[in-house]
Structure formats: structure tokens, C-alpha cells
Amino acid sequence: MAPIEGGIQRYLEELEDIPGTRVFTAARARQGYHINQFAMSLMKPANRERFKADQKAYLDEWPMSEDAKAAILARDYNRLLDLGGNIYFLLKLVSTDGLSVAQGVATMTGMGFEDYTRMMLNGGRSPAGQRSKKGGY
């Protein structure tokens, strides 16, 4: 049985067709490997303390690009997604900063946290026009 219509190339192509979304493909997983493993290290309290005491020094222990380190220091989560970061991993950094998941997530939307919260209370972001870049639906 053919598992997917059009084969893996078509499958992967479609994953790139969603507005405002970076699906965590193998290509991103490879690119962001050390960003994600760094974030993972923040599950240990001792590592969180060491990171908070000197963030740059902690980051320098990881074989990642200066670009990635700068994005982490700036908490630029959209940039980190572009560099192969995965949100489940990056949330360890959000938690280390003492922020809630929603506070961290809101920073990626270009909305302030209050506006984001209001949008969620009003039923969330509508999928209308947000499903496909090419299709525009």
C-alpha cells in the first residue's frame, strides 16, 4: 500500500505550505540538533542555575552557531524555529525564564500577551486564510 499520495517529496513540500508554521522535519531536526539538546539540558536544576549565572558562557559549551546563540540570548523564538529549534524543547527555556507556556508562545505571534490572551478567550485564531500559502484559503 502506498503510504502517502505523491511520495515523500510531495509530503515534505506540503509541510512547507502552511503560513506562520515551521513543521519539525528531519531537515530542521538536523539543523537544530544542538539548540534542542541545549534546551533539554535545562531540565536539570543545576544546569538552569549555571545558565542563569552566565548565559553566554553556558552557550559557548555547545557546538552551535553564533547566530543560534544570539537568538537564544535575545529569546527570539521565531528565529530559533528557523534555525531548527523545536517548540517542545524551547519551552524548557521559557520555563527557565519563569514564564508560562502561553507567555512564551505569544512572543512569536507579534501580539502582546494581553492581546493574545484576549484572542484565545474569544475562541482563538481562526483557520480561515491560514491553511495554505499557495492556496490562500
Binding site: V23, V105, G123, R125
Partner: protein, 283 residues
């Protein structure tokens, strides 16, 4: 003989754990969510299952990028709650059922589902939040748990059809366990949500409710929903709903809805919850 007596679908939003742990379940924000679980808590206290096959996804807690198992089954004695960046949840350790879990693992492999077997791991909110929603805050959990972790983080996750078929294989495996056991299977995660990028906050209540509609009855059309449909319609993290299909597949051809609840929002997420019982198979 062991038997699957019920299936439960349930979101596992971490904020629900926070609300319960900090005594906020009666707050205006959380009351309508927890109220939807009152029926189920009462029902669970009467059903008294012996063991839950708890399908969930690990959120980069037990599994990092080093090893990415598609389907992993916990065969250990017990599992501690993970520290996800703010300290472990103050909930009891989760007690496993190694004899039953190993029976499932062996049966599934012989049934051509090549499971990853895990003897030691910590469990995160994906597993402990549903326990809290169903059992509240006891000194110890009133059930044993077989954790079944599914990769929905690194693409591709398993197809909906594969998940459904795994559920069918679990049903066969449970039926061949000689000891009398009241087994429930839970599928957790979802419903629509996206927690990354500029499109974060996406909710699709209409789609979610159509999904809930089709969990009961004799239809199996949910197994054919493609990954791209979950992603487009329900947000990048809505893909977690494939895990509900393992639960549904394990209930047999027919399922009857006993309770259903849906609420928006909880944090970034639509909360969905359904209790199903297996119907009579025609076979």
C-alpha cells in the same frame, strides 16, 4: 481474561496540571474545564479500572533528540514525574504493570508492531495531567499504568491508519492476557492547538467537534485523515490527535459515547474530552 472496558480521549494541557497543583480549579478561568471532568471522575470511581494503557506523547522529557522511538511501551515498575523546567509536578509516582506491559510488548511485536521497550523513564505532563483530570489528587494513583509514548514531535509521526491498527493489535493482545484485568485505554493530547510561530493560537472548534462526532459509532473514517489535514486545520500541535486513534482502534468496530465535553480555551489549546465504551463487534 483481561478486557478493554472503556476508552477515554483527553487533552493534556500542562496548565491544567498547574491549576490542579495550585488549587485553582474553581477559578472562573478553570471552572468550566474541570466541571466537564466531574462526570468522568465519578464514573472512574465506580468503574475502578485495574490498569490504563495510557497513550501520550513525551514532550522532550524522557526522549530528547538522541533517540526518537515512534511507538514506545513502558514495561517498568514505576515512573517518576519529570522536571520540565520548573521542577517536577507534586504528584505521586506512576506505578507500572510490568507483567501485563511485557505481555503487550511481546504480543505486539509478534503481531508485527515493532515496539520500543522502555524500562526506565520519567513521565511528563502528557501522562500525568490526564491522571489528574480523571482521578484528582490522591495520595497514590488508584490504577496501574502502561505508558505508551508516540512520537508526534519529529516528522513524520505515524499515520492515523497505523495508529488505528496499533489499537486493533492492542485489543488482540489484551484479550490474550490470562489474568482477569479491567483495562481502559486512553488517548491523550490535542485538540486543535498551535504553540509555535506567528500562526500560534489557532483553534478550529468545528473540525474538533466533527472529530469527536466520528469517534463513536461504526465508522473508521478518522484513520484516513492525513497529517497535512491535521496541520492545516487544527494547528501544528493538533497532530497529537492521531494518538486518540490508537484508543479508538482498540475499542473494536463499534463504540458508544458515554460523555463528551469541549471547551476553548485552556492556555493555547482547545480542550476536548470523550468517554467511550466498546460496542459489540459483528465478527
Amino acid at each position: 481474561m483481561a478486557r478493554i472496558t472503556a476508552g477515554v480521549g483527553c487533552s493534556h494541557v500542562p496548565l491544567l496540571g498547574v491549576a490542579a497543583d495550585q488549587g485553582k480549579t474553581k477559578d472562573d478561568y478553570f471552572r468550566p474545564i474541570f466541571a466537564g471532568f466531574e462526570w468522568t471522575k465519578d464514573w472512574e470511581s465506580r468503574e475502578r479500572p485495574d490498569v490504563i494503557v495510557l497513550v501520550y506523547n513525551d514532550h522532550a522529557s524522557a526522549f530528547d533528540m538522541k533517540i526518537i522511538p515512534t511507538f514506545a511501551i513502558g514495561c517498568g515498575e514505576r515512573y517518576k514525574p519529570a522536571d520540565e523546567g520548573w521542577g517536577p509536578r507534586p504528584v505521586p509516582d506512576v506505578e507500572g504493570h510490568p507483567d501485563f506491559a511485557w505481555h503487550l510488548a511481546q504480543s505486539l511485536v509478534l503481531d508485527e508492531f515493532d515496539m520500543t521497550i522502555v524500562n526506565e523513564m520519567e513521565v511528563d505532563h502528557g501522562l500525568t495531567v490526564p491522571l489528574t483530570m480523571m482521578f484528582g489528587q490522591p495520595e497514590r494513583w488508584p490504577v496501574k499504568v502502561v505508558p505508551l509514548a508516540v512520537n508526534v514531535v519529529t516528522y513524520p509521526p505515524p499515520s492515523g491508519n497505523r495508529c488505528w491498527a496499533l489499537g486493533e493489535a492492542i485489543r488482540r493482545a489484551v484479550a490474550s492476557y490470562p489474568e482477569d484485568l479491567n483495562v481502559q485505554i486512553w488517548g491523550t493530547g490535542g485538540m486543535s492547538h498551535q504553540i509555535q510561530g506567528p500562526r500560534a493560537g489557532l483553534i478550529n472548534a468545528e473540525w474538533d467537534n466533527r472529530f469527536l462526532d466520528r469517534l463513536s459509532g461504526a465508522t473508521d473514517e478518522l484513520r484516513w485523515i492525513s497529517h497535512i489535514e491535521y496541520l492545516r486545520e487544527t494547528g501544528s500541535e493538533g497532530i497529537e490527535m492521531v494518538m486518540w486513534l490508537i484508543m479508538r482502534g482498540a475499542l473494536g468496530e463499534q463504540a458508544r459515547c458515554l460523555h463528551r465535553h469541549y471547551h476553548v480555551p485552556c492556555s493555547n489549546t482547545a480542550i476536548g474530552h470523550i468517554v467511550l465504551e466498546p460496542g459489540e463487534d459483528s465478527a
